[in-house]
Each structure stands twice: as C-alpha cells, then as structure tokens.
Symmetry: C3
C-alpha cells in the first residue's frame, strides 16, 4: 500500500495532485448565544432560498416568453335616426380599417361632411380667418389649422360672417359640435370574438384561448363574464369598458383607447389544462379630466365617388371611436436541471454570508471577543518587516 502510493506519487506531480484534497480548518464553537445567532442567520437564508428562490420565483425552472397571434371579429348592428333618415351601420361600415394585426377600431361617433368637391369656398370662421375685406386675406397662406389654401379673397361664410376664401374640398368641414349622445351608441352591445394562439418556442408548447372543452354551441351564444363565463372569448364592448371602470356612453362621444390584456402564466410542470388565459381590461389613453389636453381618439377618412360628369367628390368622415388593442403577456416555466443547480449552488454560497455576519458579531461585539479571536486566528508576522519579533499567537 505504502509502496504503490510512493510509486505513483513519485512518478509525476500531476498524479500526486489528483490525490490531494484541501478543506478549511474550522473552529467549532459550542455556545448558546453565538450558536443561536448563527442558526437564525442560516434559517433566514434557508427561508429565502427555499421560499423566495425556489417556491415563489420557481428557481428550478427555465423560462420562455410568449409568442402570440391575434385575430378579432366584431359583430353587431347600430341604427342611427337623424335628419338624413334611419340608417343601419354594420361591421363593414364601422370597423376602420377592416383588419389590423392586433387591434381593431370601432367607430362610435362621427361628423360627416358629404359631397365635398375640389373648389373655392369660405373657410371656417376663426380668429385668423374672419375678414372684412380682401386685405385681411393672404393669397397662398396655409397653416396647420387650415382646410385649404387661401385665395386672397374675402367671401361670405353665412349671412353674418365673412371669412377668407380657400381652395379646398368644399364645403369645408364644420367640427365644432360633436353629436351627444354618440351616434353609434348601440356599439355598447357589439361583441368581439378574440382568437389568440400562443406559443412558447423553447418548450414547443402551443395553445389557444378557445379551450378544448369549448364547443361550437357554447361559442355561438356565450358572452364573457368574469364570474359565470370566464373562459368565453367573446366580449361585449360595453362590458370591456365597464370592467375598466369607465362609462361606455361617455367614452363613445370623443373616443379613446382600450386595452384587452390576455395573460398566459403557465407552469408547464403542471397539467396542460391548467395553462389558461386570464383577461383584464384597462383604458390606455388618458382620462384625467383635470389635465385633459387633446382628449379622445379620432381620425379623418373619406369615401370617394365620381359624379355623373366625372368630377371626383368625397364624403369626409371625422370618425370618433374606441381602438381596442389586444395585448398578450405570458411567461412559461418548466423544470430544468441547469437553473436548479445554479440556484442550489448560489444558495449554498449564501451560507458563507451567514458566517461572515456571525463572525462580525462574535469577533467584534461579544464580551468574549478576544477569546474567540485567539481561537480563530493564528498571527504571523513577516520576517522581512520584523525578523526578530515573531508574535505567534496561535497557542491552542
């Protein structure tokens, strides 16, 4: 035995290196006070590692974020009854543009300016456009609020007011008075089917928000309700706005932006069926009435026609409405040995911190600190500094 050891370790120092093991020397102190403090620190660290890192943060899992695709389909009919007669609005009329990637816009209110034609007409009255003679108008003037280019002439806007004439789509739009209540107030009862397919590429996991147990019959009549139908992917627009704490009819007048948030928090170590979407709704634009510069959401679009004589005419629509942005969030975790080992490793390393903290107490705060220091430390002085004064204090 001795020989073989001698042989091996004689042949190469590399080989000798293989059979060595270094481990720190330890002072093992039996003391109620210090022991309790130490164990308390260690308990704290253990609780943190197990409770926070492993149970709460799922430190034994690797994670992936969601990749999502969304399609939406709105259904509903609105009726307007005004001076122009009764009119029906269906989905092809009030969804603009007809399809978008992750959002949809529902027109709820509008200012229509029909039969506009390129030509000369009086500008809308305003501080910079009312005039008394041609001298008040500047040929070629355009500014941000103009409807067209001034021709330099001052013409009658109506019986009492004169304004500068502009080259524009005539007659110019009058958007001073907004219909109240909103014209398409029936939009509150529209429904939207949100189809959402998600994927966690790292785990090759796909799922969609129409869950497997939902059949056609249920899907044709259900409407999402937080308590009774939490898995139905069909939402009544009025419910969405109400859940976000807003009033649909108020919002319909000037428009706004709503978020439909779909959250997929999946623990893929659990059953497939436990990974389900959770829907929440928020208003995304500002609603603070005190600080509400430029409120709501609106834009202008036109329908172009050709008159019998071939000139282009258009119907300009200033559309107010609610844009619904579908936002999909998600994180999935699944057991993986590498993050598990890393977290166990760094958890063990943290116990070193407990020792450091205890050492501070033991060596600097306790009454018997000098006694403990003597046990822990072996004092060595460098000969070059003090060759004849060896102050070896380690005398166990």
């Amino acid at each position: 035995m001795s020989n073989s050891g001698g042989d091996c370790c004689g042949c190469s120092s590399l080989c000798q290196l293989l059979f060595e093991y270094d481990t720190p020397r330890i002072v093992h102190i039996k003391s109620r006070k210090v022991g309790l403090i130490n164990r308390l620190f260690q308990m704290g660290i253990l609780a943190y590692v197990i409770g926070w890192v492993f149970v709460w943060q799922k430190g034994y899992q690797e994670f992936d974020t969601v990749i999502s695709s969304v399609t939406t389909k709105v259904k509903g009919i609105a009726v307007t009854d005004n001076s122009a007669g009764v009119r029906i609005w269906d989905v092809a009329d009030y969804i603009i543009p007809p399809q978008e990637e992750t959002s949809f816009f529902v027109m709820t209110n509008m200012i229509v300016t029909p039969d506009q034609e390129q030509g000369h007409c009086a500008e809308m009255p305003g501080p910079s456009t009312t005039c008394t003679s041609d001298r008040n108008c500047t040929k070629g003037l355009v500014n941000v609020k103009s409807n067209g280019v001034q021709t330099g002439r001052c013409v009658a806007f109506n019986g009492t007011v004169q304004t500068c004439e502009v080259l524009a789509w005539c007659p110019v739009e009058n958007d001073q008075t907004l219909p109240k209540p909103a014209l398409l107030k029936d939009a509150e009862n529209f429904t939207v089917l949100v189809k959402n397919n998600i994927r966690y590429p790292r785990f090759n996991f796909t799922k969609r928000n129409i869950l497997p147990h939902i059949n056609s019959t249920y899907l044709q009549q259900c409407v999402f309700h937080r308590l009774t139908d939490p898995e139905c992917p069909i939402f009544r627009l009025g419910d969405i706005v109400q859940e976000a704490g807003e009033n649909f009819q108020d919002m319909a007048i000037e428009g706004g932006v709503m978020g439909i948030q779909i959250k997929w928090e999946c623990d893929l170590d659990q059953l497939w069926s436990k990974c389900v979407p959770r829907y929440t709704f928020r208003r995304l634009d500002n609603k603070d009435p005190d600080n509400n510069v430029a409120p709501g959401y609106n834009f202008r679009f036109s329908k172009y026609y050709k008159s019998a004589n071939g000139t282009e005419i258009r119907t300009l629509i200033k559309a107010f409405g609610i844009r619904f942005d579908v936002m999909v969030f998600g994180k999935a975790g699944k057991f993986n040995i590498i993050p598990t080992m890393i977290n166990i490793g760094s958890g063990l390393a943290l116990f070193g911190v407990a020792t450091v903290l205890c050492d501070i107490i033991v060596l600097y705060l306790l009454k018997k600190r000098f006694y403990y220091r003597e046990k822990k430390y072996k004092y060595v002085e460098d000969y070059e500094i003090a060759p004849n004064a060896t102050l070896e204090c380690d005398t166990p």
Copy 2:
C-alpha cells in the same frame, strides 16, 4: 525595518489595517479516495463553467435584442372566371388594407354581395328569423347574428320561405356556401419581397436582409428556396405555406394566419458577414381539425358607390384570406470585460461548493470520518455555559 514597521503601525490603526492579510487555514489531506472525489467534483464544475457558461452561453459577451423594421411588397395576378365573367385581380385589389406595419393580408376567397342599398328586405332564413305571420317578428329586434333591425313584418324570402323583414343593407349577404376551390387560388404563385432592416442599438450595429452581395439582377428573378436560394428575400406564398406543412389550396378556402419568422442570431465577435437572417415559416392559427371551432380568418369590408340618383350603394365583400405576420427575433453578443469577470468570479465561487460536498463525504460518510474531523475542527466551548469543562479537542 522593525522600527519603520513599529512607527507606522503605531501611528494609526488604519495604516496597520492596510498591511494585514487574512487567509483561511487549510487541512491538506493526501488521500486517494478523497482526492479523487474532490477532483471529480472540481472537474464537473470546471466543465460546467467552461463548457456551459463560456462556450455554450457565451458568458464572455454582453447581449442586446434586435430592433427591426419591416416592409413588404406582394406581386402577382389572379384570374377568376365565374358567372360574372372573367376578371383580373391585382395587388391593389387583394391586399387589404394596402399597407400595414409588420403584416400583410392576401385575399384568397370571398363572398361578394353587390349593389347593397339601405332599405327593407327579408332576413336570411334561420331558426329565429323564419316566420309564418307578422306575429313571429318583433319590431326593433336586433341580435348578434342579425343583418339589420326587424320591422315586425313577415315577408317572402323566396318562393317557399318567409322570414322577418329587416331594415338593413339590402339584399342581405348569403354566406352559407363558400366557393370551393378558393376563387383566388392563383394566390399560391404570388411572391412577396420582405425588406427587413435590423439594429442592435447597444453595439450600433445595423444590417438588412438584402445582403450586400445580392444585386438587382439576382433580386429581380430569385425566389427563396431553402437549399438553392436561402438568402433571397422574395418568397412564393405557396412555398411559405408548404414549408409550414400546410396545403395552400385548403388554407385558401377559409383563410388563416401564417408567420414569417426571421431570426438574426449574431455573434459580433465574428465576421460581419456571418450575421445573416434565417427564415422559418409557421402556421400561427389553429389547424387541429378535431377542435376547430371558428376556423380560418375572414372579415368584411365594403366599396361604396353613389348611384345616379345620389343614393349610396355598396359592394359588401366577406374576404377570406391569409394574413402573413412577419416576426423578427434576434440576439447579438459581443465580448465585454464585465460579464466575463462576473462569470469567472462566480465560477471560482462555485469551487467552494465542491469543497462543501466533499466535506460532507469526508466528515460524515467515510469510515475514517472521526480522524478527519479531529484534523479539521478545533472544538471550543463557551465558558459561560460550561466554565470548568473545556473540551479542547484540537490536539495535533
């Protein structure tokens, strides 16, 4: 020498602190069994640190995620030949809306309802709309499937069926039968040029998917092919769908959502030319035929006209088609001293774990554990607990 040391260390304890160094005392054990176990643990940790952290995870790099901008351009002509005659469909006809930020929709099938006008007509037959007399109809009734508002009258839908009259865009759409094969089945041969510019802001690195060696001549005739033309950014729609394992003509009937995934995995420590995009294709919506509630992708839009007498008429189109979402993923890494140092540091710290694990074996599992414990530990008992029973075991 002794004096200067004495002088300095006498003047201030701060100064003395500068010239101190604490290092743990170590038991150096020469033992085959223990040494081998220890080296095995250390090898494992070294392999993990070098192999996983540095080589695989590129622990010496800092990372950035991609910022991308996408434009697309579809080309192709489709011909339809039905009762209404032969008709040509070009890009301005079948891309709806004409431009989107990161996706494009190609109409492949449709149900056209021409010359709709606001008026009264018979609702589509259905369980809740067929009637025998006015008493079956409710004035003002609207539901999610309605095409309009019921007027309360029961009128003839055709020779045999009577349905409730509605105020609606008349005649109402009949979407019971979907054209098979898809009307624009030629869409399989359409091509799309995807232009993608990416940027890694942290490294001020930009690149685009039209690589520098691609010239106009090649770009005008190439079509992406996984093997022969993997760098051509022009994709045949049929190829995209086929690579995703789907059948284009089947998909064209009811529509769907396809993902064009562009992956930029760049190691910026390597050559600039090695950072190239990789294209993959996936179907994003559900295709599972067993659980296929609400399949496909479709939406409705209208073209508005004005008749000679000024009334508004429209052509309603229920458009079925494929939405292509361009999804850009990417991560770039570049050498940086800080993550390198952090990973070396935590790698070194991990070696402490090897010692902990070995200690458990040496001190609790080996036969000679009591011998090793005696070498490692120095036992100290607190006087306050047992003043007269000092159990000093450290007798080397």
Copy 3:
C-alpha cells in the same frame, strides 16, 4: 449553567445543533507586501460593487419594462399643380390607411392611373412583352411583372411599339417615370401630434407624454424643437427627417421608413416629474446608395367607382411615402429590498475571490512561499495509504 446546558444537550442532538457555530480558522499575516496586494484587490472589488453594481446598474432596484399605447394625428395641407389642374390634398387623402396602431404613412409622391377598367389592352413594353406578331405572345401567360394575363395577340402599344395584349385593368400603369420633385413636397411642413401613454405595471405607474404643465394654449401652437421646445409632442415631419440626418425632399421621392423613438428611462425613487420622455429620430430603412437594391417604400391601392352604365372603374395609385413607426422604449427602477440583499450578498461573496487571488500570489509567487504554506496548511496523510509515515507539518 453547566447543568442546564448538560440537560438540554443531553436530551436531543437536534437541540445541541442549535447551539453550535462553525467558523473557519484564519492565518492573520502582518506583511506590507501581501497586505497591500490584498487591500488593492479588495478595493477593486469594492469599487466594482459600489460603482458598477449599485451606482451605475442601480443594483438596489427592481425593474420593469414599459407598456405603451400610441395614437397619432397628422395635420397639414398640400397643393399639387399639374396638367390635371390645381388640387388640394388633406389628411383624409394622404394618410393610408386612415389609422394604424403604432405607425402612420404619409403619401409624398404618387403615380396615378385614372379610369382603369377590366378589359383588353397592350402590356407595358419590356423584354418579354414587345412583339412583332401573335406568335411572340402566349395565351394565358402570367409572370411576376405582368399587369394581366396575355391573350395571345400582339397589338399596338403606341405608334412605334407593339406589345402582347393582356386581360387586365386597362390602361395598364406606366410607372417608369417618377415625379421629381415629389408631388406632395409640402408634406415637409405637416405636423404630427403623437400621444403616448405608458405604464409600468409592476409599480402601478402611469404617465403620458403630454406632461401635466403643458396646457391647451401651448399645445395648439408649439412645435418640437430639441433646444427650445423639447417637451412639445407635436413634430414637424421635415424636422424629424432632418434630425435623422436625411433630406426630406430626397426621401419624399421614393419614400422610406422613419422611426420616432420615445425613451422613458425612469428612476421611480426620484421625483415623479423627473420621469420624462426623450425623443430621437432614425431612418429605419436602408439609405446606403452603393448597395441600394429595391430602395424606398411604396405600395399600390385603388379607389373604386361605378360608371353610369354600372361597370366598375378604378383609379390606381402607386403611393410613395414615408412610414413613421413610433417605437417606445423604457425601463423603470424602484428600490426593493430583495435585489439589494442579493447584490450585497454576491458582493460579499466576491471578496472570497480576492482571497483566492492573493493566496495564489502568496503561496506560489513570493520568495517566502514555503514559510506561508507551512502556516496555512496542516498536512494530513491517509493512514490507509501510508500508515506508518505520518507527515504532520502543522507545528505551530
């Protein structure tokens, strides 16, 4: 005292475990050279932990990324004066589609082909379409550049050139010559109001880019300027392009993609009012003139009309313009005890690395390495290997 200790520790070893404390034995070396090296390493680590981890990286905070919603509103009038007469273009004419989620497209140039009708006409001249007789044309031929399907006949394109006849929207578009300067060159003076609401869900923090002190009066006349009006959310398109280092009029001809980047870097430990957006602008598509295959940004769309006799006619527009993508970035940090503790912990652990590095110097590089080794190590040989040769070197 001794009794109670004896009682407790006699009853259970678990109890005894509570009152124990292990701490490593240390060699405390007083040496100028080694001490200085050690303190230098420690200073470096401390500087890294405090400077980099805590001050620079804000290691005492937890972080959240921004959730954002964007709406935009463009204003401005353009005038074109060509053979067709003077014409006004307003927002409903040049924004296509009228609304998008996070971007908007402003048409700056176009090729208009009015009064197209389905029919037969001569294809645009080109290498594969010019012909001298019907034999040069193939009935049914379609390729990627075709405007329609060849009928097999060779007809006169104009007085001098003959091309193959196609079934197409006739007359076919001639996009050979692009208007220079751009038709809607006035777009340089258009302005866009960008409304951006952000949210950090983890901190329940919301804010918008119209800051509270901005009132309606200011908002109605301000234009963003890096120095004088850095908080005004209204941008002149020409300024955006100029700040990105581009020439608007050049870009307007062929189109392009611009990024409006809004950065919300918020330290929520500071005042609410210090969390403000920062705007930057970049060109997102390629502008490199040397490698500019397929430059610019354009797409085709149509306006559909019905002629008096009921046939469908359309105006095809090839629209060139600038797409503005609004990109919102943001990260917010707020003090949290958990990341603070983790970073303090791993900072302390790093000090172990200083000791490891010092040990390497002390035990392997210094002249007195053997002396220090003797002090640090206690050599133990396993009896099984060398039972009669105990080489205990630890003789303090």
